[in-house]
Symmetry: C3
Subunit: 446 residues, 3 copies
């Protein structure tokens, strides 16, 4: 079994704490789902009648067929993508993929409720369909990101507590951005990446462990663990066009989002490889960069992919984000740890925080630069939903609100992260001592 220094011994036995939290919370989910959640019109057996009322001639008009393939791709990103991306640590593969599985499985239930109350609430019921499933996965994506910062240093109970709070804050922030500021963010540069990453970085700052070098030998990868991590990388990379297009408007918007993301990601690989080689003395490539910075291109077009960013615009954004992210791994991560006491296990600052900010800014600029000429008269209104009270909003005002969305997301992340970090610091959650971090043997039968 795992040796512990006598003075540092912490009680990591989860025998009653973890089951209690899991079972009580699942019971709460059942009760809340029982009270609130019902099938939306397109998933309800009354759909036959609905179709007639809406004059739909074919079942293919059901939203299921517009979004289900993308939903499954997003689902793979959350569970295999994030899960395996984090298996790079030599002795924390079970924790990476297993705890990610646990927190995401809880998170999607809680997100269905939280987002449902804000967005799908009608006559006292939350009505769900495939778009809700995608949004729940998205919301949990922000928790998976934050998990990356504290990977290996927290107990599963802490992760569940963080998920509970982060999903709640995510939903509030999302409501402010999408409903109050009327901001576009289909791929979540702001709501998912900026918020999720800065939230996680704040939490890990609060949970700063001064003695973490005691487990330094376990913080690296081995040959095979790097290959497992590449499974995660590639699934995230390949399916990111689905991520950014999953909840875009039917038709051209979904189509365009996928193309922009495809282009941005392709460019990002080239600049990542270039800088990875350039910044190493012997010109060798570093798997850490390939596993992570190649994905920055997906993050950085998260807001603008459904806009008329254009393929060459996407190449530019992808190129820049790959450079920023790789440089971040080489220079910023050590700086953050040594100077700011931010211990960021997976380097989410480079993969999600900075590219997320780029994404928000690119989105604001792209929105501000929109013209009726480029979008067409109807396309312009549809793309930015300039109807009802927003009928008079101009592109430059929209750009301003987009920028405000970044600021709100940052504030929510810092304040929320600080509070949740404080809660997670309580000595009751069963986290391990510094010398036992990054070690599956603590929480798993190995």
């Amino acid at each position: 079994d795992t040796p512990r220094h006598q003075g540092m011994a912490k009680n990591t036995n989860m025998r009653w704490r973890l089951p209690l939290v899991c079972l009580l919370w699942e019971l709460a989910m059942i009760v809340l789902f029982g009270v609130f959640v019902r099938f939306g019109a397109e998933a309800d057996a009354h759909w036959e009648e609905e179709k007639q009322e809406m004059n739909l001639t074919s079942d293919i008009e059901n939203d299921f067929y517009f979004r289900y393939p993308s939903f499954q791709d997003v689902h793979v990103m959350i569970f295999v993508g994030f899960g395996f991306l984090m298996t790079f640590l030599k002795r924390y593969g079970f924790g990476a993929v297993g705890f990610n599985f646990l927190l995401a499985a809880f998170g999607i239930q809680w997100a269905l409720l939280m987002q449902g109350w804000f967005h799908s609430f009608k006559d006292g019921k939350i009505l769900i369909g495939v778009e809700n499933l995608i949004n729940a996965d998205f919301c949990v994506g922000s928790v998976c990101i934050a998990f990356g910062a504290i990977l290996g240093k927290t107990s599963p109970i802490q992760l569940l507590v963080m998920t509970l709070f982060q999903v709640t804050l995510f939903s509030v922030n999302e409501y402010i951005l999408l409903n109050l500021l009327h901001v576009k963010d289909a791929g979540g540069s702001m709501t998912i990446h900026t918020f999720g990453a800065y939230f996680g970085l704040t939490v890990t700052r609060i949970l700063y462990r001064p003695n973490l070098e005691q487990s330094k030998d376990k913080q690296g990868s081995v040959y095979h663990s790097d290959l497992f991590a590449m499974i995660g990388t590639l699934y995230l990379w390949m399916y990111w066009p689905s991520f950014n297009s999953a909840i875009s408007d039917h038709g051209d918007a979904q189509h365009r989002s996928a193309i922009n993301t495809y282009c941005s990601l392709a460019a990002c690989v080239l600049t990542t490889m270039a800088f990875s080689s350039m910044l190493q003395k012997k010109g060798k490539l570093d798997m850490v960069h390939i596993q992570n910075a190649t994905l920055a291109g997906g993050v950085a077009v998260g807001t603008s992919a459904e806009m008329m960013l254009t393929p060459y615009g996407s190449l530019i954004v992808g190129s820049i984000s790959g450079i920023v992210s790789t440089v971040g791994y080489v220079y910023f991560t050590p700086f953050l740890e040594s100077r700011l006491h931010i211990q960021d296990t997976c380097g989410i600052h480079n993969l999600h925080a900075m590219p997320g900010l780029i994404g928000g800014i690119v989105g604001a600029i792209t929105a501000a630069a929109a013209t009726e000429d480029v979008y067409g008269k109807e396309g312009f209104i549809k793309a930015f939903d300039f109807t009802g009270v927003y009928q008079t909003r101009t592109p430059s005002i929209q750009g301003g609100f987009q920028a405000a969305g970044i600021v709100v997301s940052l504030l929510m992340a810092f304040v929320g992260g600080a509070i949740v970090g404080g809660i997670l610091k309580l000595p009751i959650w069963g986290d391990a001592a510094a010398e036992n971090c990054f070690e599956d043997g603590i929480y798993w039968e190995v």
Copy 2:
């Protein structure tokens, strides 16, 4: 090479037996396909004319677009899902993924014929389309399940023989349930899981090896093999909503099946983690449970997912099945082995048999509780196909038939499994001695 005890030596050389079986059977497939199998209307080049006759205005009405994404997800579950789930054994990864590949590739061909004769036969020809491909994959799924019970203890020839018979029996059982009893079972709780699992358990009972402890050291996992197995787990878990919705009616039924399954699986993860920790002295999690019991929620809504089970109903079913399955791994599996001489390598009793029974029962109850109020007048008739001779069937009678479906599946599994087990016991199939079980070196160049 692998050492063998002199007295126990068995001839495991497959040099002529395996090629002979593979080639003759493939030849038989070619002949039978030549005589019987043709493209269905939607895959035939006459579709242009068909469209006009059916007054279809768009190619998108082709069933291909309703089902192909789900088909591919199911395909991944059968080949990567089941294949990698079984790679957990430290020295049987080639056999797990390779033999699963072999039996499934043969099985889908034979299933296209067997199911075709029962369900797609017209004017002397079997007319196939994407739904047939899904059904063939489903049928083979039941063989993959049974393979889990005998994993590591049988030769590839035995597996092919078992596949031949099990696909046949599956198709007969399926015909009795779907056509004679007019039972609903889109996700196959009864036809796939209950039948497949009890069939496999009966076979492994007949093939009982009293000296299996001689290969005990190889029956466990190593760190990396557990991560490979998690690839299988996650793909099964993520794509199970596609599995349960793949052959449901177009529109709301497919949509609803996916949502119910998503909910059930999410809840199942929480209760599995809870009980895995609770039942271990130090509260540590066991990868065996995480790899398997987390999937029980998908099995347990296999019959009812397309009904109006509701999201909270799904959470309840998923929660219960996770508990039952985990408890099964801790208490039932050792009991089955020591008392009943049922050696169940992968614990399919916990993952498929018990959750399959739960699924059948939940399906019967959900059907019996159906009302026109909940389904809508048209939805009610459509959901249970209460047309033609079944026009007068009431929900409670339907519930009774559903229950009868469970009993028939069990009988078919026990009787069929006993007969096929007897055939597989013949000393001509090249299986290994007890001390050489769970060892790739017997059948593979390593």
Copy 3:
């Protein structure tokens, strides 16, 4: 670090060369995309107006919904399929999956341009949509194939140079076949496999390394690397029906392509297993065959899958290709190396070259055998696009042109491969000495 014989020392330091190539080429992409690439009508925000002009009543008519699920499957095949298939080498997993990632990410950008100029050029702009993304992935597939021949023996810079030229030649060859010869080749037996494989074999012949036995100990696999490779195999195998149907005509053609490919691949597994066992002295199976020859069935129906090949025809083609491919691994590969000095790391001659030729021939025969009776009057014209100047083309003439397509592809591969091989032989690209081949330590921080 890696030891090197003094006399053989080569400069493999890529510190300035690789970054320079990556950054300059990415810059070129940005400029060319800026000048030429725009969204096609279905991805442009003007789609709302387009819909009205084309009298489309639903967004579901957008090509995105017909092709996006298949696109994602193809995408997985290129990046995970080919990438992981090549991880079988014990010490070259990073290079396999990482360099494949690099060359494909560059290749798809260049392919969008090259193929765009030939096929999607309108009023000075290349208009792209989801079909262009699929075609770019297809084009890069041929580079991944060629990479298989030189795996472990080339620097990433050489791979990028090869990609630049091969994508160019691919596009020219594709234009000759599809536009000038009016040949059908939706799954690319000729354009992707025959061309890609013979191109790669010619390149590796030119780059012949007489002292390669110095790194012989690293040319094999280890237990775990073979399992990683099986991930690649299975994803290629499962998604091949999507590959062959991805750009077929909407409706029956896509549907039929998927069915034919599914059948061919299933049969191929059986004959591969048979011959793998038969050709080994003790009847044991060889993972090399299972990983590769099982896929030959997908290659061999690449041209004919969208035609009325029929399911039993597919079984025959799949059966034959599995045999040819397995026999190739046992007898041809050693012969090619010792006699013809063709060092083919992954055996692409067996997996792509020979099955590709079979595919071209089967396509020619199937086209020549087409009748209005089998296809229906309209289906016949639609299947072979016998409109406009091709209105009078008969099936037998079409068969002749199909055969000509094989010859053109071969010529282009041999001539192009020889030229590109010559360029790659220049001593400026940073390739490793023979004793350092198949070793990640040369180009990666390990």
